[in-house]
Symmetry: C2
Subunit: 383 residues, 2 copies
């Protein structure tokens, strides 16, 4: 990477309105083409951001940003047609005007094949099929950013979703995560995010390839502040484990223990998340968790609202088990925290480390075992 | 200090129900006498905790815990008499039964003169008079813990309230701070706190003097989890600067920017608080802010509710200035954040460092200058 001073100058040129014409690496030989895979509320919001930046920086990015839509019919019309004609995703982001240069398409390969920057933003469970369909169809120097939350944690190990994308498609892949409730960002309410990306060995050079400057230019908006770092693992771990913490926050909220107890759970959760990350991804940095939006800020937002808190609270208030709570509150969908708590427990059992993660383990035992929520203070006695 | 293993063993002996009779240093030659200065809702809550522990550990602590009451009349009776006869502080902590061994007194010197551990828990503005009245009246090896929030920040420098107590009274003084809303703790709802204390040069030895084991035994309850550390400066800085952050959280809440923006403010606030602490108290540790209840947990709790958030929110919602907001919401009392924002600004001007603290400076300029809340994202652009 270039020096901080060079990067600062470069970014300020990109963001400034009076960038000198013809300056390199401001004008890549061919502007970068951006595509988004996924068009839920978060995918559409990110597509909107990218299209706004593409329109604002014509020498850096191709004007049109392609967005893949899992086609469906809405009032007798294709969702992709509605987005392209009415500039609104009436199904997943109603009421938000989209830029005209955000182009929806139901053809995955058409959307992705010429992309220089491919942004994955779709539910976890579709990732396997999507990467399978894209194999061998991408440009050799296509680079990716994953907005998918989470890790692939099993009893036998723990890997990043971005690594899965890299391995399946043979392309470098980073991650985007932060305190990012989509509806507020879609309405241009101020928030922050973290983009993590490590330059690949075949990096083609500034202006010719995706780097931190290009990522900042692509994602940063006046209302969406981006910090680009290199710690893909830290960002991903934070995005996954926060959901366990949010369940436990729901537990103490449901018991009526108030803000002291909720803050205590978040504090312990932050400590255990950092410990987990450094145990399984020694290359990750503690500062990602304490200084970045993807760390402490996303933890706070996730523990303020959302489905994991709701499930935990309902369990504490009613005595229902997690499955019943999910049936009643989420139409039987799983809350991510319930799944992740089990994956993390299984992994910690394998490496014989459950004792070092009393909050994660207590949350697991409350959901899947016979432990009671009232016992949390005792279980956390050593924290 | 003793080794971690020794301390662990020592604490587990103290906390265990079957501590061996006659073991040293479990049984100090004379049990330590505890006194509390102050009887507001937080002072009374801490007095209750200390009295519970004194009763539970008769060989470590004198049975009675004395609590100084700023005498007032309630329904024709002295408040101190009500506390001693009815075991309830009807004025400041109504509805909570107090232990019979918590003894209220209006005589400051009587309460303090024989204390081995003196806990200060009263409003900041009374500290000067109280320390003046106590000068020369304490035991030579009396030790103190300050529960007062904050720092003494002026344009010319920055010092700890605990240092002020030490200097005025010639006694070692630590600090207690955490995510501690008093009413919930008084009702035995689970929370955590941080006690910071550095052993003085004239430490008399384990069992003969206040140390981390004694502090843990005095403050820790099953519902009030205590971690004892040495970083008095970090704990104090965190307790002071959180109020500025809470004001700014109120600003973005008042504009309806939602949880993303609130979390962003807390994140930036945490980063600036650590930077401030390391600039003015190089001996303080970043981990105090990211791992301890006095750090990130107290920040979260303070930014969830309380008078600073209310004042900031009201300013954003109505356009009222801070003074008007305080008049309407706090009967003209000052919110601590409004005062601290000015103190911190003055100090940063003196050392020419305002540019390194964009959130603190923006908050100051919004309150005392002509900056607008809507401009916060731009002002924080570099964070």
């Amino acid at each position: 990477m270039s020096s901080p001073a060079q990067r600062l100058q470069h970014v300020s040129q990109i963001l400034g309105s009076a960038a000198p014409a013809g300056a390199q690496p401001l004008n890549p030989p061919t502007p970068f083409r951006i595509a988004v895979i996924g068009s839920g509320n978060w995918g559409t919001t990110v597509g909107k951001i990218l299209a706004e930046n593409a329109a604002a920086r014509p020498r850096m990015f191709k004007h049109h940003v392609q967005m893949w839509v899992h086609e469906e019919q809405v009032a007798g019309r294709n969702l992709s047609d509605i987005i392209n004609q009415d500039h609104e995703n009436v199904r997943y982001l109603p009421g938000v005007k989209l830029p005209a240069n955000l182009r929806a398409s139901a053809s995955l390969v058409d959307v992705a094949k010429d992309a220089d920057l491919l942004v994955f933003n779709l539910p976890h469970q579709f990732l396997r099929r999507i990467t399978s369909d894209l194999k061998g169809k991408l440009k050799p120097r296509c680079r990716a950013i994953s907005c998918l939350k989470g890790l692939h944690v099993t009893g036998s190990g723990c890997s990043l979703l971005s690594s899965y994308i890299s391995e399946q498609l043979g392309i470098a892949c980073g991650a985007l995560s932060g305190a990012n409730l989509a509806p507020d960002i879609a309405r241009c309410k101020w928030s922050e995010t973290t983009v993590a990306y490590t330059l690949p060995a075949d990096f083609a050079g500034a202006g010719h390839d995706i780097d931190s400057d290009v990522l900042k230019a692509a994602f940063h908006r006046p209302y969406f502040h981006v910090n680009v770092i290199e710690d893909v693992a830290g960002v991903s771990v934070a995005g996954a484990l926060k959901n366990i913490v949010a369940l436990a926050v729901g537990f103490v909220e449901g018991l009526g223990w108030g803000d002291n107890a909720k803050a205590a759970i978040m504090r312990v959760g932050l400590v255990e998340t950092i410990k987990f990350s450094q145990m399984f991804f020694p290359e990750s940095a503690a500062a990602t968790f304490t200084k970045e939006s993807a760390g402490v800020a996303d933890l706070i937002t996730t523990c303020s609202s959302g489905r994991n808190v709701k499930v935990g609270r309902h369990m504490a208030e009613t005595g229902d088990d997690a499955e019943t709570a999910e049936k009643k509150l989420l139409n039987g969908q799983s809350s991510q925290g319930v799944l992740t708590a089990k994956d993390v427990h299984d992994l910690l059992v394998t490496v014989d480390k459950t004792g070092e993660f009393p909050l994660f383990e207590a949350t697991y035992q409350i959901i899947y075992g016979t432990e009671s929520i009232e016992n949390l203070p005792t279980l956390l006695g050593r924290c």
